[in-house]
Amino acid sequence: MYAGIVQELIDELGRLPGIGPKSAQRIAFHIVQTEGFEVSNLARVLREVKERVKFCRNCGNISEEDLCSICVDPKRDTSKICVVEEAKDVAAIERTRQYRGLYHVLGGAISPIDGIGPDQLRIKQLLERLSDTSIEEVIIATDPNLEGEATAVFLSRTLSALPIRVSRIASGLPVGGDLEYADEVTLGRAFEGRRTVND
């Protein structure tokens, strides 16, 4: 335990995800000890980020405006919507630079243990967006775990009545890896999801 304000700083830092007590202490001492450490800039950014950043009215992605930069981008393909659990999944898919369609962030996955059902996710908003007939495909990119799969099944059933192509991203082997090092479950999935190459 350190005196007063320093301990308070360590405690606050320790509340952040991925930062344990040791790291919190290291960061706190860095801030306190390093000469010329410009702490006012960090403090300003922290305050402003909470003031300025909100969720896109349309897709639920993080944004500084009412609509996010993807929703307002005229170059995006508006016939496709990719459904993800969290805003950080949008960032991950954007890094591929392959997908040029729009997104829809659900805000989680169906998980009764955590009290999350369809009503707690942004599914109603998705259905509203889909009433726009220019949308041709919905790509479900929820996590390939139990809850993500359950959410994907729920979505595919809910959307089955609509005249829209619904697809699920593939799961299987990582690119650049060795087959022999893949775990059994992943390899099993890759076999289930195999495709024909000679047609």
Binding site: S111, P112, I113, G117, P118, E149, A150, F154, E184, V185
Partner: protein
Amino acid sequence: MRISKIDLTNFRNYENASLDLDPGFTVLLGKNGQGKTNLIESVVWASNASSHRVSGTDPLIRVGADEAVLRIQCRQGERALTIAAQLNRNKPTVVMIGSHPAKLKDLVAAITTVVFAPEDLALVKGDPADRRNYLDVLASKIFPNYLATLTDYERAIRQRNSLLKTIRGNSENQTLDIWTEKIISLGAKTIEYRLQLVKQLLPYLEQSYQNIAGDNHHAGISYVSDIADAGEFSRDDLPTLQEISDLLSRALTNKAAQEIERGVTLAGPHRDDVFLSINSLPAKTHSSHGESWSMAISLRLAAAKLLKDGPLGDPVLILDDVFAELDVSRRERLAEAIKDFEQVLITTADPEDVPNVLRGTIVEIETGRIK
């Protein structure tokens, strides 16, 4: 497979301990409460990612310490492998296999052990959960996908039970079907693995029971589940995955109203049991104390021999204070049945309890120190 070295820091009552082990038989000798079982518990933990005595890791960390470290070196043929783990009081356990960070579940495939312990009597006389656990631990070693399937199944059960509790009395929930389907697909797969395992075990159990109790005795094992009539799961040709799915699906449909009322999932592998018989009579209700011990030991012995004949080879046998529970003839018969295994670790308070053929290296243990 054999263990060549154990290093412990702050594990149970060991502040620091190191023990080199030879192939063959090693007797860990010490009075009660000195730490014999704690020593082999580290091997069991490294093999199953769980202890055979307690759940969780907190009891394994020495009182007053925040972390326990164990390093187990083993050899399979010419191949040497080191398993290291750091058990933390408030943080997740960190595991290394060889020089690579690994997940807890990877441990299950690294070292194979079969543990005989006084608690084994519960396999015969205890709850269905004890017998399911016996199948689950063994199936995890034999079928690489089993643990992942079971883990997902158990999580799906928790999810479905949570949902059932929140919708009490209202069957019009739009997501219940999805969880029911998950239960059916994961549950049927779990049952299919268990049926295969029980079928493979049966001849080994018959043989093992005769080894322990005598040639004119017959032991049986079959898988029982509410979802199928008695006998359905013990026929020669096992039901297909589709047939199991249909049975489970029907059982869940029949119990749907009751499930919504009670808020729990009432059919599936989490409620199944293993039926054990001795000379065609149910072992749980009809066996004497001695017969029950013969059955408990035979179940462990059958598991050890099944593993021995498989691709993993000889498991390390761990006999934790079991000779004290057995009469002289059962001791001798057990010793005879296990003397061909590559490595056997025995703990005892009294060396006289251990049959002569198994008295190999003797290691004395006193208050958390290896002499």
